[in-house]
């Protein structure tokens, strides 16, 4: 655009002749052009890409659980993809007992302005295990911990997989699973007893403290307890 061109105000309705902008109103619920990444993935990984859906203009790629690490690393590193931002890791369980549990990764390519949703289906009855993408995205650390905390999905290869939202001694299960009663499994008094038994000052692990380099500043008694291998909160 010529920088010396005079400023033209946009008048409502004046763009009627132009192509309709791609807004959610103009998008088909299903179908439409898939992201070019989907084709590239098919070409590169073949049968590991099980299905490609386009929902509201966003591309969802269902992939083989065993090759997630490889696919994610390729999406991150390939110069034609450059998915450099892991937006979210989550899971979906359906009320329908037959439907598999889905583990979902949302990745975004900032250079190419693309969004991709990767899914892995875990059939009912199978072990809830998927590979961790921590080696590629360090931000997966807490996201995978949250997913583990809420759904009980084990991310193989995660460096420190433990609860993050609920306290670490939480024994009632995984709150976002469909078989989890809304009020929890234990009685209110038992829940409160267990919560109050936690020591609010002993919640840091040695690892977290060494990262913060605050260990030396702790009181002597706390350092002694942590050095003796006391786990957090117990």
């Amino acid at each position: 655009m010529n920088s010396s061109a005079p400023f033209t105000p946009v008048i409502a309705g004046s763009a009627a002749a132009a192509a309709a902008p791609v807004t959610p109103r103009n998008l088909a619920h299903r179908g439409g052009p898939a992201s070019p990444t989907a084709d590239a993935l098919r070409e590169r990984f073949g049968a590991a890409v099980k299905r490609v859906d386009v929902v509201w203009g966003e591309t969802t790629v269902v992939v083989d659980a065993g090759r997630v690490t490889e696919i994610v690393a390729w999406l991150h590193d390939d110069p034609a993809q450059q998915y450099d931002f892991l937006v979210d890791v989550t899971a979906v369980e359906f009320r329908d007992g037959e439907q598999p549990i889905e583990v979902v990764w949302h990745v975004r390519s900032l250079p190419y302005r693309r969004f991709l949703r990767l899914k892995v289906l875990i059939e009912k009855g199978q072990k809830l295990e998927v590979p961790s993408v921590w080696a590629t995205y360090k931000s997966a650390d807490w996201l995978e911990r949250e997913c583990y905390d809420m759904f009980g999905i084990t991310f193989v290869g995660h460096p420190d997989l433990r609860r993050i939202l609920m306290w670490e001694q939480y024994r009632e299960g995984y709150p976002l699973r469909k078989d989890f009663p809304l009020r929890g499994r234990f009685s209110r008094s038992e829940q409160l007893r267990q919560a109050l038994a936690a020591n609010p000052e002993a919640r840091y692990s040695m690892d977290e403290l060494s990262i913060a380099q605050a260990f030396e500043d702790l009181p002597e008694e706390m350092r002694r307890r942590l050095s003796a291998g006391e786990k957090t909160g117990e």
Binding site: P175, P181, G184, S187, R188, S189, Q191, A195, L196
Partner: protein, 204 residues
């Protein structure tokens, strides 16, 4: 020594003004009008609490202008917002760190009863963790509501008597004590009414 020569009588004959009063009235009056709050704000009630502290409603009129973010220098704990189970030991610890005399205000529906959060993560009323003096209803309560609660607390403080030491006794629930309610009875008492989400805790 005649009555006129008594040191006290001599003291009273000067020009200094003087008055007599009951000691616990004087103590209560000073306590009630300099309540330093420990704000424990966890949710939207804390926004209303901030509004109550700001210039329009001005808690300073009630001697509460000093928010004490250190529990050791606070008189009244104002719990504004829902308390998850993960925060329960923290709230208990803060309460234990506060010096006697101390009071607690439970602000809003969630702090008082758990409110709409009848779920696995939220404490069903902070009175299951700490003793509460005043409950302020509302979701969230308006600043006027909180100020009304504070004035109720001031009235309560004014009614205290130094001779009654039971007010300041702290008790931990002990299975051998009279205060102890067995878990089964608490379950029965805490069974919600008028709640459409009826679920058993045993599972499906």
């Amino acid at each position: 020594m005649g009555l006129k020569e008594h040191p006290l009588a001599q003291l009273l004959q000067g020009n200094e003004p003087w008055m007599t009063t009951r000691l616990d009235f004087l103590v209560n009056w000073s306590r009630a009008n300099s309540l330093w709050p420990m704000p424990f704000g966890t949710a939207c009630c804390a926004i209303e609490f901030m509004a109550a502290a700001a210039n329009k409603f001005d808690l300073a009129r009630f001697g509460m202008e000093r928010m004490s973010f250190s529990p050791r220098q606070a008189d009244v704990l104002i719990c504004a917002g829902r308390v998850p189970f993960k925060l329960a030991p923290v709230l208990r610890r803060i309460w234990q760190q506060m010096m006697q005399p101390k009071w607690a205000i439970s602000m809003g529906a969630c702090a008082s009863t758990g409110g709409m959060f009848d779920n696995y993560a939220v404490v069903q009323g902070i009175d299951t963790i700490i003793p509460v003096d005043v409950y302020v209803p509302g979701c969230p309560p308006r600043p006027e509501g909180l100020i009304y609660g504070i004035m109720m607390l001031q009235k309560k403080v004014m009614r205290e008597r130094a001779s009654d030491t039971s007010l300041r006794q702290e008790m931990e629930p002990d299975p051998k004590s009279q205060l102890y309610i067995p878990p089964t009875a608490i379950d029965e008492l805490s069974e919600p009414f008028g709640n459409s989400v009826h679920q058993t805790r045993s599972g499906l």
